[in-house]
Each structure stands twice: as structure tokens, then as C-alpha cells.
């Protein structure tokens, strides 16, 4: 991207605000030790169920742990999860998409069959099934969500590859004697980068929401890990006497996911406004 495009990108409000929000999350994650008020697992029964105050910005939970600190440390989980899920989905999905789009017929049919299987039921149900099999833990949730979602990459990339492979410049490459591998990696892949970027901006927020949903159901990160979904679930029964326990992690989730979504909107406007979800 040249300078003019970068300037235009920064002027795009969506991209800018989304980027700022994402950066604040990253900063919280990196400097959690300095930003948080207390260690996230420090139990202090005497101070349990305190409303938000200057000692505890977001109040305390039933064990007297500082919710603000737990949320700050929780950004690490949020970022880790988003990153890993995206990388896995990207690698599997894009590779299969390129193959399916480039090689027609049997390869394509086989890949679309496998894709259909992962798409044969709603993501939540599938991830629930996988977590049931593997057991509740953050790692398994990440695996489950990554497994469930790569299909969206495959569908979009294979469609784009199909249109690209019929273009004259690919014929020219073949005439020059380029191997299939080279054609796919040097000619086709770079032209799918826009779609990949947009897919990533769609994957990140979904990954965060899905992991916290599974965490909320008790099937994800296990206590005392400060997963925002877990914190929220711990506040459900106490909603009347200590609503902050559930409200603050929810707001944090909204903040992060909104940030990713707005960032995605901005990028979509710049890169490929006609993108079809």
C-alpha cells in the first residue's frame, strides 16, 4: 500500500476508532502488571462483594478479588484467543480454499464436502460437541472454535480463486512454465489478501464472543483464570446484590468486540466494499 492509500485509511473514522480501541486492549494486556490494581487471583474475603470504589474500580467478587484487575489480566486471554483462532482458521481455510478453487472437480468436491460437515450445524453446537469430547479448558475451546470457523475462509477464498484462475495473467504464467505451486502462491494468493484481511476482522470478534460464551457456560477457561465469560457467569446468581460482577465484563466484551467490528468496517470500506458475508 502506498502513502496515499495509507493516508486515506487513517482518515477513515471506523478504521481509526477501531484501531485505537484495539491498541488500548493490547496495551492493557502488555502492561497488565502496571495497570491492574491487584493480582487477579488475590483473595480477600473481608472485602467480598464490594461495589465499585477508588480501591476497587469495578468492585469485588464473592472471594474479594478485584474485578477490575481480573478484567485487565483477562485482556491477555482475549488477545491470545483471538490471535490463535484466527491463525488456525486462516491457515487451514485459506489453504483449502486455494486448492478447492484452483483444482476443479474432485478436489473441489472433496473439500466442499468436508467444509459442509463443519458447516452442517451452528457453530455453538459444534463447539459444544467438541468441547464435550475434549473436556473443558481454554485450549480445547480454542481448538473447537478454530475448527468450526475455517469454512468461511474456504468458501470465500475458493470463490475468489475460481474467478482469478480464469484471468489472462494466469494463462500467461502457465505459458511461462510456472509450476502450480508458484502460480498459487505468487499470483493468486496475493490477490486474495484483501479478502483475507476482511475475513480476519470478522473472525476476531466472533472468536472473542464465542470463547467467552463457552467460558460463561463453564466449558472454557477454568477458574481462577480471569476469562471474562467466567467472571460474568460468577455474577449471575449475585445479580441483585452485586450487579457489577456481571455488568463490567459484559461492557468490556462489548468494548473489545465493537472495536474489532468497527476496525473491520473501516477496512472493508477501503479494501472491498462489495464483500459478501
Amino acid at each position: 500500500m502506498n502513502n496515499k492509500k495509507i493516508k486515506k485509511l487513517i482518515k477513515n473514522k471506523n478504521f481509526l476508532y477501531g484501531l485505537i480501541i484495539s491498541l488500548t486492549v493490547i496495551i492493557c494486556a502488555i502492561f497488565a502488571d502496571y495497570i491492574a490494581l491487584h493480582p487477579y487471583d488475590k483473595i480477600n474475603i473481608l472485602d467480598k462483594l464490594q461495589p465499585p470504589s477508588s480501591d476497587y474500580y469495578f468492585g469485588t467478587d464473592i472471594y474479594g478479588r478485584c474485578i477490575f484487575s481480573r478484567i485487565i489480566y483477562g485482556t491477555r486471554i482475549v488477545l491470545k484467543v483471538g490471535f490463535i483462532v484466527t491463525v488456525i482458521q486462516l491457515i487451514i481455510g485459506v489453504t483449502l480454499g486455494l486448492l478447492a478453487g484452483y483444482y476443479g472437480r474432485k478436489v473441489s468436491k472433496f473439500i466442499s464436502f468436508i467444509t459442509d460437515i463443519t458447516w452442517s450445524m451452528p457453530a455453538i453446537v459444534m463447539s459444544l460437541a467438541i468441547v464435550t469430547i475434549l473436556g473443558p479448558s481454554l485450549t480445547n475451546v480454542v481448538i473447537a472454535i478454530a475448527f468450526v470457523g475455517w469454512a468461511q475462509y474456504t468458501k470465500i477464498i475458493s470463490a475468489k480463486t475460481k474467478t482469478l484462475k480464469n484471468l489472462p495473467f494466469i494463462d500467461a504464467a502457465r505459458v511461462l512454465g510456472e509450476s502450480d505451486f508458484n502460480i498459487i502462491t505468487k499470483y493468486i494468493l496475493p490477490n486474495t489478501v484483501n479478502q483475507i484481511i476482511i475475513l480476519v476482522t470478522l473472525t476476531l470478534p466472533r472468536a472473542v464472543l464465542s470463547t467467552s460464551a463457552l467460558g460463561f457456560l463453564g466449558l472454557g477457561a477454568q477458574p481462577p483464570a480471569p476469562d471474562w465469560g467466567v467472571i460474568l457467569s460468577q455474577g449471575v446468581n449475585l445479580i441483585e446484590i452485586a450487579p457489577w460482577i456481571s455488568i463490567t465484563p459484559g461492557l468490556s466484551l462489548l468494548y473489545v468486540v465493537l472495536g474489532y467490528n468497527i476496525l473491520g468496517e473501516g477496512l472493508k470500506e477501503m479494501l472491498d466494499p462489495k464483500f459478501d458475508y
Binding site: 450445524m121 455488568i247 468497527i262
Partner: protein, 313 residues
């Protein structure tokens, strides 16, 4: 019409293949898991004889593939085996809950369809106006809201602080309001967004200008030309969203302790009641395949281009 039938059958066939594969995978994996449900039932101190008896009772002593075929044959007859925990037939258990889930999901899906279209039409027609911008931003915010948090917030506001609706369970139509609202608010957002974008595209089409040039009134143009054409992809989306709403009901049902299939799925997972989990997952997979196929059929019915293409084959 015959060709339509052929098309449906072909799609269903693939769907069946997918379902079979899913069921095999599910079955194989669930039965090779550590942790023994029999142990759970029998308890720690049960004697080996009792455990063996229980195993035979649940057919868990035979080789895996035989267990699978038995299960498959039974499943086709609607018999999903016995729930390990409840000692009831799984199918009975599921049936007693299914109607609640269908009620919840059904109302949510219908309302989503009815509400999303006029909102999207208005926003698209008045593109970039305040109304449109408000709509777009609202949908992005709603779309970013965690469903489980929204549900709890609604409970806090409308069931606890201002006790209008019941907090949980099912005790009449009022119990549906908050769960439906939770599902609707989070799911409708993407529906509105996509429909709006479809309509914006259509409004830019040349045939809309033709309609104006003919002298048709604006209302007629919007409904007969724009909306009718937008309904095609929108209706498909409506059918495709059905499985997602049913799947998502797991969370909503859990929050509201709503006695539906989703809640049952969650409790069965935490208690490792495999037959129930298997049964529910497969039913949802079946509903997904059926919804997707219905979506394709509806497109073929509504869009003459697709229809004639098929008849040509």
C-alpha cells in the same frame, strides 16, 4: 416441477451423507472418551457385577461399530436410546423439550423476518440520512453485544428491578418475552445489515430507473420492484438463520432456565450423558440440513433465473 423435485432430492442426498458422517464421528469420538458414565451412575463403591450388568443394559459391552449400527437403525426409527441419567428414552426427553425450543426459536425467527425488512428498506431508501446512520450504528453495536450478557441485563432490568416478566422457567407467554428479545436484538442486527445492503444494491440497478421512467409511483416501485427482488436473498437468509437461532438458544435457554432442548443439551454435556448429547446434536444437524435445503428450494421458486436454469438441465 419435476426438476425441482430432482434438485431437492440431490441436495437432501448430500445432506444425508453429511449427517451420516457427522453421526459416525460423533459416535466414535464420544465413545472413546475417558470418563465412564456407567461409573457415574453406579457410583464409586459399586461392585464389578453391577457395573457389568449396567454395561450390558446400555449395550456398552459390544464392539464400537456394532454399537453404531444398532444406534443408527434405532435412530432412524426415532429411538435414540436411553438417557443414562434420566433412564428415560432419549427421544421422549428431547420431545418434551423440543416444543419449547421451537416456540422460542420460531417466534424469534418470524419476528426477525417481519421487523428486519421494513427497517432495512427504510434505511436503504434513505441512505446516509440520520435514520440510516442510526440504524447502521445500532446494528453494529447490537451485533457486538454478547448475547449472554444482554440476557442477564434484561433480566436485571425487567424481571428484577421492575418485575414485569418472570425471571426464569416457562409459566406462560410472558416468559417468552425476554428470551425472544435477547435473541432478536442480537440476531436481527446482521439480518438488517445484509438486507439493507441488498436493497441498496438494487436501488442502484438500472431497472429501478426504468421503473421511474415508466411513470410508476414511488411506493409501487419500492414494493413491486425493489422489495420483491430483495426478498429473494432475504428469504434465503431467513431460512439459513433458523439453525443458528436454534443453536444459539443453548445460551439463552440456560440463562433463563427455559425448559427447552438447548438447556437440556447443556446439562447433558456437563453430566456426560452421551446418548442425549448425540441425539440433540443430530437433531440440530438434521434441522440445519433441512433449513438449508428449504432455503435453496425457495430461491429456485422465487427466482425465475434459477428455476429456468434447472429446467434446462
Amino acid at each position: 416441477m419435476i426438476f425441482l423435485l430432482e434438485y431437492i432430492i440431490r441436495r437432501l442426498f448430500i445432506g444425508v451423507l453429511v449427517l451420516l458422517t457427522v453421526s459416525i464421528l460423533l459416535f466414535a469420538i464420544m465413545h472413546s472418551m475417558p470418563g465412564d458414565p456407567i461409573q457415574l451412575i453406579a457410583g464409586d463403591r459399586a461392585d464389578p457385577q453391577k457395573i457389568l450388568e449396567l454395561r450390558i443394559k446400555f449395550g456398552l459391552d459390544k464392539p464400537l461399530y456394532i454399537q453404531y449400527f444398532k444406534w443408527l437403525l434405532n435412530a432412524l426409527r426415532g429411538d435414540f436410546g436411553l438417557s443414562i441419567l434420566a433412564s428415560q428414552p432419549v427421544s421422549v426427553l428431547i420431545m418434551s423439550r423440543l416444543k419449547y425450543t421451537l416456540m422460542l426459536s420460531g417466534i424469534a425467527v418470524l419476528l426477525q423476518y417481519i421487523l428486519a425488512i421494513p427497517i432495512a428498506l427504510l434505511a436503504a431508501f434513505k441512505k446516509n440520512s440520520l435514520l440510516d446512520k442510526f440504524t447502521v450504528y445500532s446494528t453494529i453495536i447490537l451485533w457486538s453485544t454478547p448475547q449472554f450478557w444482554l440476557g442477564i441485563l434484561l433480566i436485571l432490568l425487567f424481571a428484577v428491578k421492575i418485575p414485569i416478566f418472570p425471571i426464569s422457567g416457562y409459566s406462560g407467554p410472558l416468559s417468552l418475552v425476554l428470551p425472544v428479545a435477547t435473541i432478536l436484538l442480537t440476531n436481527m442486527a446482521s439480518g438488517i445489515r445484509i438486507t439493507r445492503s441488498e436493497i441498496v444494491d438494487i436501488l442502484n440497478e438500472k431497472y429501478v430507473i426504468t421503473a421511474y421512467a415508466k411513470g410508476l409511483k414511488e411506493k409501487v416501485i419500492l414494493i413491486k420492484h425493489v422489495l420483491r427482488n430483495a426478498l429473494i436473498p432475504t428469504t434465503v437468509m431467513f431460512f439459513l438463520s433458523i439453525p443458528w437461532i436454534i443453536g444459539g438458544s443453548v445460551i439463552v435457554e440456560k440463562i433463563f432456565a427455559y425448559p427447552g432442548m438447548g438447556y437440556l443439551l447443556w446439562t447433558s454435556i456437563t453430566k456426560q450423558d452421551y446418548p442425549v448429547v448425540q441425539g440433540i446434536v443430530l437433531i440440530i444437524a438434521l434441522l440445519t440440513v433441512v433449513s438449508n435445503t428449504l432455503g435453496d428450494v425457495v430461491v429456485a421458486y422465487l427466482d425465475p433465473r434459477v428455476r429456468k436454469n434447472m429446467e434446462g438441465k
